[in-house]
């Protein structure tokens, strides 16, 4: 497994993969900066995408600005894992890897852990840069940052960061599952995005009671950082959403492992 992990890290230095990692930082910085820039002053009518100045100046201010980018970072992780996993099939490199690997499941585990560790590093970098951008933007707009670094502020920041990492693992598992099912990068990404953006919304529209059980909505509830940022009420508490999301993750990883171990490699 360790060999597979190290081998995957050689591949992760490809330009396209590094660009995906950099895009996490870019989006996090942009959304945090925009959050500060669009802050609504007291007495002005609220705007859908903007956070009120008073909210930004609270202990949760920086965390709530960062959480806006959390879902996008999770989405990039999903795309990255689906792409690097499915490309092994479409390029035929999977047959070379498995002819050299000590075992299929060890190879898959090492690969998954390597890609997830890459997304963790990219996310950490993205949050770090977004914090710097947030401070700079707040200073430019005279937004007080005093409460951001209080105990509550730091805790909420850590909560959003931790929840984003947990959601990344869950959605990476979904990306891996889609890649193993369809064995081609484009369709794998397409299916994963179509499910999260279209199918879930349709299902929730038609059957409103299912909202508390849908993977994407549960992720939304988790990435909101246990109430740090307002999330749509899906009828599930943070703890329940987190538990369910973890169960789904284990099921997705188990199904991926079972399929990968048993299925013929004909690519």
């Amino acid at each position: 497994m360790f060999r597979s992990f190290m081998s995957e890290w050689v591949k992760l230095r490809r330009r396209a993969v590094l660009a995906a990692g950099a895009s996490m930082s870019g989006l996090a910085v942009l959304l945090t900066y925009m959050g500060m820039y669009q802050a609504v002053n007291p007495g002005r009518p609220p705007r859908a995408v903007a956070i009120a100045r008073l909210g930004l100046e609270s202990s949760y201010g920086l965390a709530s600005a960062l959480a806006r980018g959390g879902l996008l970072i999770v989405a990039i992780s999903l795309i990255l894992v689906a792409a690097v996993s499915a490309t092994e099939y479409s390029q035929g490199t999977i047959r070379v890897a498995l002819a050299n690997a000590p075992g299929r499941l060890r190879w898959l585990t090492g690969k998954f852990l390597a890609v997830v560790s890459f997304t963790f590093i990219a996310t950490t970098l993205a949050f770090g840069l977004a914090v710097v951008a947030g401070i700079a933007a707040a200073s430019a707009r005279d937004i007080s940052t005093q409460s951001w670094f209080s105990d509550t502020g730091i805790t909420s920041l850590a909560q959003v960061f931790g929840d984003t990492l947990i959601a990344e693992v869950a959605w990476s598992a979904f990306g891996l599952f889609c890649a193993i099912i369809v064995r081609s990068a484009g369709p794998a990404i397409g299916i994963a995005l179509a499910y999260s953006l279209i199918v879930e919304n349709l299902v929730a529209e038609i059957f409103p009671d299912t909202g508390a059980w849908l993977f994407g909505r549960l992720t939304f509830a988790v990435v909101s950082g246990n109430g740090v940022v307002p999330a749509p009420n899906i009828g599930s508490t943070y703890e329940r959403s987190l538990t369910l999301m973890m169960i789904y993750t284990v099921v997705l990883l188990g199904a991926s492992a079972m399929l990968f171990a048993k299925r013929d490699v004909t690519s």
């Binding site: 060999r3 081998s7 050689v10 591949k11 490199t93 047959r95 070379v96 002819a99 013929d264």
Partner: protein, 306 residues
């Protein structure tokens, strides 16, 4: 005293793979002794690649069994570390260099990194190893694929069409490389549709058609087509018609070729007899040669006869 039989590098017993209602490989029994170059030949769709995939644990057989280097194919980790493989063409990460691609595999297989420059030199890619694989020609990718198979310092090499995309000097180098590997005591199992190439290097042959084994044994033992084509040229051009009559009486399908030579099919080893027949008819031959039946011709006659 007879030589003890060498242990088998590859042995299959009733190996079968069925996709839907089509048998890609049917009841294949082959044995390849260690330390030989074994040619694995058959027309497209004969089941060569499916067999190779089963031997490497990529595809599970529907029925039957096989051993590679004495280990069952049901547990590939037991033998894969001693096997190097190039399967159905080279597959690499195009945006990585040749060296980086080999680094991926050394990390995966736990091979020493110092093998990489040695391998690059062995397969003739020195000077291009830092270029992206996307800039490689098909022949260069093929060389890198063979290099990747050699990283493990394997006892058994399984190469699927290693000559694809190579230019004539590259093919000669590949042939020499395969012989060198055999001489080092390794077993080389090479599938190819370039039968002339296989004929030049193989000690052992496995012939497959439509998923079934037509022949498995020493290359020298392959039953050659018994009929040989003789080319005869009379010293005097005026004797061509008379020579054609002699040839017609003596063999089969006698014809006059565009260059004026008389061609006739007859039993192998009949050169002296036809020379005498021509002399008896008062014709002096300036040329008489028998064309050796190539593996390709034998192979084609085998798959046509089957």
């Amino acid at each position: 005293m007879s030589e003890a039989p060498r242990p088998a590098a590859i042995a299959t017993h009733g190996l079968t793979k069925v996709y839907g209602d089509r048998a890609a490989v049917s009841n294949v029994d082959i044995s390849v002794p260690q330390g030989v170059i074994a040619g694995f030949v058959g027309p497209n769709g004969s089941g060569k690649t499916t067999t190779i995939r089963m031997l490497l644990g990529l595809v599970a057989p529907t029925s039957g069994s096989a051993e590679v280097l004495g280990e069952s194919i049901s547990s590939p980790p037991a033998y894969l570390p001693r096997v190097g493989a190039l399967i159905e063409g080279p597959a690499f990460y195009p945006s990585l260099s040749g060296t980086a691609n080999l680094r991926v595999l050394t990390a995966l297989g736990g091979f020493p990194k110092k093998r990489i420059p040695e391998i690059i030199e062995t397969v003739g890619l020195t000077g291009r190893e830092r270029d992206k694989v996307s800039a490689y020609s098909m022949g260069m990718k093929q060389r890198l694929g063979v290099g990747a198979a050699l990283l493990a310092d394997p006892s058994l090499l399984i190469l699927d069409e290693p000559g694809n995309g190579l230019d004539p000097p590259g093919i000669i180098e590949m042939r020499d490389l395969l012989r060198r590997l055999r001489d080092e005591g390794r077993t080389v199992f090479v599938s190819s549709h370039l039968l002339a190439e296989v004929e030049q290097v193989a000690d052992w042959l496995v012939v497959l058609k439509l998923g079934k084994v037509l022949y498995c044994g020493e290359a020298a033992g392959l039953p050659r087509r018994t009929s040989t084509t003789y080319a005869l040229r009379p010293e005097n051009d005026a004797d061509v018609e008379a020579l054609l009559r002699v040839a017609t009486a003596w063999g089969d399908n006698a014809t006059v070729a565009a260059d004026g030579a008389v061609l006739v099919n007859a039993a192998a080893g009949g050169g002296a007899a036809i020379n005498r027949a021509a002399q008896d008819a008062g014709i002096t031959l300036s040329e008489l040669h028998a064309r050796v039946v190539t593996l390709e011709e034998t192979f084609l006659s085998m798959i046509e006869d089957d």
